[in-house]
Symmetry: C2
Subunit: 225 residues, 2 copies
DNA sequence: ATTCTGGAAAATTTCAAAATTTTTCCCTAT
DNA sequence: ATAGGGAAAAATTTTGAAATTTTCCAGAAT
């Protein structure tokens, strides 16, 4: 028999990022095996790989759990993401050229188009397919922001942290209503403008503003000098 | 039969961090299995876990490899480490109190003692046990530096990156001779002094100075504002 | 000489069951 | 009642082999 573990990986990742498992819920290979028509070991294998991107928690002899969600965890993920994105975009602004500006503008255009639509009629965001479009566009914009940082490790780490950030956000169900989109439209615009005008300070501030709704703690990770 | 997979994990990790495998060398479970008297799948399991800390490279259907080493990779790891450490210590300086200063002083004392000994008689560094002592002390000092940053994610990430940094360093065989220790003694001292006097700028610079021997590229990841 | 093809060899993934460990829960002793 | 013990149940890890995929190489065709 042949089972498609990439598909299992993708499906589990998707479920993890969409709060289809409760916070800290136990992920038992023997149980999930039925869902996918494969052996328990295959599920174990996939879970082990999902551990690498931080979506799954693993402890020896104690199995797997969906990542816990909590205000502390959300703070931590958000601040760390903010720090990485600020550092990454600062480098991109220094190293990126015309092609970067073009890609960034394009990514922002796709994103803002969707967000404008969602702002006009909030119902659109209820459609999972539409949300997937927005999710991809949002990721693409932020990834492009740091794409010229020149550091593969920073980029890879950012990708994992971004995924965990989304995992925490979705879990807390802070709705994606019309008001949400009308707020972030301006935030994304501010980030774009600052990036294109190579204003490091403004861009750092814009990123911080964009993310600060997601953490309550006073001190930001991007320590002021 | 019962096999001790924590021991296998530890042994493989140790070998990986001490260049006992060549850069990008293939890590075949079926071959390693004999070494440890366990099944191939157990090795696979361990390798998958080592993937999480970045010591092992994994690709679907294509198996495992020891991390590649190259000037580019070394640059990347070093700059990323420098960035994380600077951010972490900046936060620690802001949030850490008396207890932090005490721990940091203690960690530095243990470290500098060893380094002084190694400087006096370079032969000491040839003894693997002594090197292990130094390695632990060095890690402890740098970990303590960022220990009050308030961000578990930053700390965990730093730990992984530090491990990969060491992996790259050892691989390139840039000897740990007497001159090496006499150089870093002052660098560690400068970091300690700046940290204790809460001089953020000086501390960032000291960390950069400490690491800059390990990268050739002009642009540092810690982007100037 | 170079590229293409087929199939054998090697390596990786998957399976299902056995061995081990952890957890649960009921019974007993204080 | 409550804490402690211990066996049964559940979950995790490990195994050895089968199934699948990739790699390698010799021979044929261009």
């Amino acid at each position: 028999m042949k089972t498609d573990s990439p598909a299992i990986y993708a499906d589990l990742k998707n479920k993890l990022m969409n709060a289809r498992f409760g916070p800290g819920e136990k992920l038992k290979p023997a149980s999930l095996q039925g869902e996918y028509g494969c052996s328990a070991n295959t599920v174990r294998d996939v879970l082990l790989r999902l551990t690498k991107v931080g979506l799954v928690e693993f402890e020896m002899q104690r199995g797997f759990r969906a990542q816990y969600t909590s205000p502390e965890k959300r703070n931590d993920v958000t601040r760390f993401r903010s720090m990485l994105e600020q550092e990454g975009v600062t480098l991109s602004m220094k190293l990126g050229g015309i092609s970067w500006e073009a890609e960034l503008t394009a990514a922002h255009h796709r994103l803002s188009h969707l967000e404008s639509e969602f702002e006009r009629s909030g119902d659109l965001a209820d459609n999972p397919d539409n949300m997937k479009l927005w999710t991809n566009a949002e990721w693409s914009f932020h990834d492009t922001l740091i794409s010229r940082c020149g550091s593969p490790m920073l980029r890879d780490t950012y990708e994992n942290v971004y995924g965990q950030f989304r995992q925490q956000m979705v879990a807390q169900e802070s709705g994606f209503g019309r008001s949400y989109f009308s707020a972030i439209i301006h935030e994304h615009q501010a980030i774009l403008d600052a990036a294109l005008s190579r204003d490091v300070t403004a861009c750092r501030a814009a990123i911080n503003d964009h993310l600060k709704r997601n953490y309550t703690q006073a001190v930001a990770l991007e320590a002021a000098v």
